[in-house]
């Protein structure tokens, strides 16, 4: 067998060329990954030339090289952010000790679980989104979808690198399983629920990238604080890419809202739907659904695992070093609303056990900023409607509020009232049928689907109408 030129095939800064262990692992995994991509990646566009950003190094400019590439030829690379000299564990029980370059045996299983859970989300979203290219509202949007997809693929590579490099045979088995599970599959579902939900329309895609990928940002941020240095460096580099996904989602929803406002103004009855748009109230229901589903991803409000992860120095808080002065989180409490005997009351929880909630709080603040920007856009469009975020207790499927009848204001109501009013608050079947009916592919690079406003600018200095995706040569 001819030697594989790893360096050009797989851009990396982890000395893949000389690492026999990694090479052996990838010899088997890389072809399996390509099979998976060809089978589960974007349907019908694998031979198109797509104007994509590729990371070829961690140098400034190196992580964002633009050019046309067919997706299966995308150079999925392995990058760790540059090491920080004399980095120390900055929280938990090992505070002040040098960070670990190798997995401490004591935490091996826990770390593997953390990494596998994060890794599982990356291919899952590619699978969920694989049909969306066929209904892209513009060539510009189609390109963004594919950019998100290939980068989720790269994030899978990044996590698989950790499994291959640090977890031996168990790690290789887990890496194989990551390619065996399938989003929404009855037999081999993805680990987390939100990643088994279908993504049948572009409003869902925008909400997913805005809310669900934002959970990813916060998870990666918390893991970037990790005392296991390779995980920290991997996550720091991934965060630079994640920002693009969030902006695709945030601006996507904003463009749907703007267009909804514009069409409502045109319509004599103020009905965006009559003009073929998506009413703002309907978008609100999508926001509610995906925001709440994404809140579930942070785990239970009161969590033994969260306390263990923090105590062990494996998973910190968002901006642990910058935003906090005290880093043991011992003898501190977090006040939390809990339901006892059918009533909301407040309870003090040991801070370490509330770390999921602390991270969720940071996430919620971030999403509030996003919603404020949407509302500025609605104000600019001259309509009175505003988007609001529901309470973190509404429509939860995990944690202490799971399956309890809360309204979007976070008040306990009767189950009957919840059932009666759910159609106001969450997408109905009829909503979904309508939104799906709007989904038609727009192939002309200069055009946008009627239900979405054009973006302000194109990609990498190119105009919006640039031909970001080109069909294969006949």
């Amino acid at each position: 067998m001819a030697a594989i030129d790893y360096q050009s095939l797989i851009p990396n800064n982890v000395n893949l060329d000389s690492d026999k262990r990694l090479q052996r692992a990838l010899e088997k995994w890389q072809p399996a990954y390509l099979d998976w991509w060809n089978q589960m990646g974007p349907e019908s566009f694998q031979l198109h030339d797509v104007y994509l950003r590729t990371a070829v190094s961690t140098e400034p400019g190196g992580w964002a090289q633009f050019g046309y590439v067919k997706m299966p030829d995308y150079r999925w690379g392995i990058f760790l952010a540059d090491p920080v000299a004399d980095r120390r564990i900055q929280f938990g029980d090992h505070i002040g000790e040098p960070v670990w370059q190798d997995v401490p045996g004591e935490y091996r299983n826990v770390l593997r679980r953390i990494i596998v859970t994060q890794a599982d989300t990356e291919p899952a979203s590619v699978e969920q989104q694989r049909w969306l290219g066929m209904t892209a509202p513009s060539v510009y949007d189609m390109r963004n979808l594919f950019q998100v997809n290939v980068e989720e693929g790269r994030h899978l590579w990044a996590m698989v690198y950790l499994l291959h490099a640090h977890f031996g045979k168990d790690g290789r088995d887990e890496a194989d399983d990551l390619l065996a599970r399938r989003a929404g599959d009855a037999d081999k579902p993805r680990i987390l629920d939100a990643f088994n939900q279908p993504c049948p329309d572009w409003l869902t895609f925008f909400c997913f990238t805005c809310f669900t990928d934002r959970d990813g940002k916060y998870q990666l941020g918390a893991l970037a604080e990790s005392g296991f240095d390779p995980l920290s460096r991997t996550c720091r580099f991934m965060l630079t890419e994640e920002a693009h996904h969030l902006s695709v989602g945030e601006t996507g929803v904003e463009r749907v809202l703007r267009r909804g406002a514009q069409l409502a103004k045109i319509d004599r009855n103020g009905d965006a739907r009559a003009q073929g748009g998506i009413p703002i109230a309907m978008t609100q229901r999508w926001v509610n659904y995906w925001y709440c589903y994404s809140l579930d991803l942070f785990g239970s409000e009161i969590s033994t695992n969260a306390a263990d992860f923090f105590g062990a120095g494996l998973k910190g808080r968002w901006a642990e070093a910058k935003d906090y002065e005290e880093h043991t989180a011992l003898n501190q409490w977090h006040q939390m609303a809990v339901v006892e005997q059918g009533k909301l009351t407040s309870r003090d929880v040991p801070l370490r056990n509330a770390m999921n909630e602390v991270l969720r709080d940071a996430y919620m603040k971030d999403t509030e900023r996003v919603v404020r920007r949407w509302n500025v856009a609605l104000e600019e469009e001259g309509v009175a409607d505003r988007i609001t975020l529901p309470s973190s207790r509404f429509f939860r499927r995990q944690g202490i509020y799971a399956n309890l009848p809360f309204n979007p204001e976070g008040e306990l109501i009767s189950a009957a009232e919840l059932a009666r009013r759910t159609p106001e608050w969450l997408p109905t079947e009829e909503d979904r049928t309508y939104v799906t009916s709007l989904m038609h592919r727009v192939e002309d690079p200069g055009q946008m689907a009627n239900w979405i406003a054009a973006p302000r600018r194109g990609i990498h200095g190119n105009p919006v109408e640039f031909e970001y995706v080109r069909p294969p040569m006949a």
Partner: protein
């Protein structure tokens, strides 16, 4: 956390009152599904039974279901034990409950759950229903131990669900309620793979679990229900069961406290002398002719004894000595025993139950003295109680009327955990002795009983009262821990069986580890579970 001072536990329940289990019988297959109510714990407000974790109350229902399946649904040939929630079968014993329990309670809890599991295994082994565990989600700790009590284990293969015994890595204690022993002795798992399994908190998912024998088969989600149903149907069809069986509804026992010191059943009375830490247990012989119903003495009286033993164990920790007498007509006991021999399935099933009660007696962490006095009813099945006692005192009366009666039920109807009969166990150095006793047959007077070694001491009328009083007072003065250890050692002489090992190791290793600072000290693993800080171990090996 403060230890819970708990109210008396009631071991009687009925399917109509189950909170956590649902029993559905469909033809020759029954489904027992576990859907533990989080707020339905025995001590409301102290802990939540999350993730289908269990406390004693949950296991009391399971034990009741297993017992009722035998008597009330004898047509059932296969029982599928499964979970009522998606994604989790059972997370084992509730850790917060354990953390708040006294050591004595933990021991009793583990013992009872194991007796329930032993009951499941016995039902399977004795031609009743074959138990099958259908793990529709992760089974960890006691959840997997419960599954191991079943003959076959199926695990859903959904890429997530696993079987695990995470006690060592997560809690610093043992999967000691039979878990370790069943891995090696029952499932015949290689010991090195068992070592890997027991130190890997997340356990093994379907592929490895099947490969190394931790489960028997795995089915994908889309074929889960049909695969389990098919397997249950096959197992049920292959199990001939007992063609002459008929449903016997188990009537309620409903004992009465006549005052603080007296708990009365129809055939059993318990008189508490709490100051002296003694319970006087009186077993009364049948007062009516045998029948094939739950009112018949052979079933009713033994269920009463069983219930009384459970209450004594869990609710009366201060009682250190059981003084047992049997009163009434010895002949009536022999008649009742004989009737069972003619009652086919019913007789056999009742005898198996009596054997379980006697094993429960063997497992008591209390001293047992039998007092054999004139007019006693220690005959046949009841004589086994004398054999189970740590000591027996038989009055040598002037008239020579005091007697016991050994029958052939002592030749094998009531095996101990070791597999030996109590007669075999009694004479470790004399293999001919059991036969000698059995050949003697009929009534055995005090003199003969003493010669045959069937009783410990045979004081005459002048000495008897004082001998007994002194023995009781002396017993009450000794260290309760040393006594429990001594009695368990002496009761279980002879060979080891899987059952034997389970209880022996439960009372030795598991309890030792449960007591150690590394588990229950201020920074012990069990104490720290769920707390924001991590455990601190004293790494010295003992």
């Amino acid at each position: 956390m403060a230890e819970i001072a708990y109210p008396a536990v009631n071991f009687e329940t009925h399917p109509s009152r189950y909170v956590h289990w649902h029993l559905a019988v469909n033809g020759n297959v029954a489904v027992l599904s576990m859907k533990v109510q989080e707020d339905g714990g025995m001590w409301p407000g102290k802990y939540e039974l999350k993730l289908n974790s269990y406390d004693l109350g949950v296991d009391v229902e399971l034990a009741d279901a297993v017992q009722r399946l035998r008597f009330e649904h004898p047509g059932v040939r296969a029982v599928v034990v499964t979970g009522g929630y998606d994604k989790v079968f059972c997370a084992g014993a509730n850790i917060r409950m354990l953390a708040q329990s006294s050591h004595a309670f933990k021991v009793n809890f583990c013992k009872f759950t194991n007796e329930t599991r032993g009951g499941i295994e016995e039902a399977t082994a004795q031609g009743g229903a074959v138990y099958l565990a259908a793990l529709n989600g992760t089974a960890s700790g006691g959840g997997y131990e419960m599954a191991m009590a079943c003959k076959e284990i199926y695990l859903i293969d959904d890429g997530n669900s696993a079987v695990s015994l995470p006690e060592v890595p997560l809690l610093g204690v043992l999967p000691g309620t039979g878990g370790l022993t069943r891995l090696t002795d029952k499932r015949k798992v290689r010991r090195d793979m068992a070592d890997v399994f027991c130190t890997k908190a997340e356990g093994f998912k379907a592929r490895d679990a099947v490969k190394y024998g931790f489960v028997d088969a795995a089915f994908p989600r889309s074929r889960w229900q049909t695969s389990v149903d098919e397997r249950a149907a096959v197992v049920a069809a292959a199990n001939p069961g007992a063609p002459d069986a008929f449903p016997v509804l188990l009537e309620a026992l409903a004992p009465v406290w006549t005052d603080e010191q007296h708990l009365d059943y129809r055939y059993v009375s318990v008189r508490f002398d709490r100051a002296a830490r003694i319970a006087h247990l009186t077993l009364r012989a049948p007062d009516s002719a045998p029948s094939a119903s739950s009112a018949t003495w052979s079933l009713r009286a033994w269920r009463e004894l069983d219930d009384a033993l459970l209450r004594l164990r869990v609710n009366d920790l201060d009682i250190g000595l059981l003084v047992v007498k049997a009163t009434g007509s010895a002949q009536a006991v022999l008649d009742a025993d004989a009737a069972l021999g003619t009652q086919g399935w019913f007789g056999r099933e009742v005898r198996l139950f009596q054997a379980r009660v006697l094993r429960r007696l063997d497992n008591m962490a209390k001293s047992i003295f039998a007092l054999v006095e004139p007019g006693n009813a220690f005959a046949g099945s009841l004589f086994e109680v004398v054999l189970a006692a740590d000591r027996s005192y038989m009055l040598e009366d002037d008239d020579g009327e005091n007697a016991v009666c050994v029958t052939d039920v002592s030749a094998g109807s009531f095996p101990m955990h070791s597999g030996l009969t109590r007669l075999q166990s009694r004479y470790p150095g004399d293999t001919a002795a059991p036969d000698r006793v059995l050949r003697h047959g009929g009534t055995i007077d005090t003199d003969a009983a003493g010669t045959l070694g069937l009783v410990t001491l045979t004081p005459d009328e002048i000495d008897y009262e004082d001998e007994v009083r002194i023995a009781i007072e002396e017993r009450a003065s000794l260290s309760p821990d040393a006594l429990t250890g001594m009695e368990q050692n002496l009761r279980f002489g002879g060979p080891e069986s899987m059952d034997n090992k389970i209880y022996g190791r439960l009372t030795a290793w598991q309890n030792w580890i449960f007591q150690r600072p590394n588990a229950v000290g201020e920074r012990g693993a069990l104490k720290m579970f769920g707390a924001p800080e991590r455990p601190v171990f004293d790494y010295k090996r003992t």
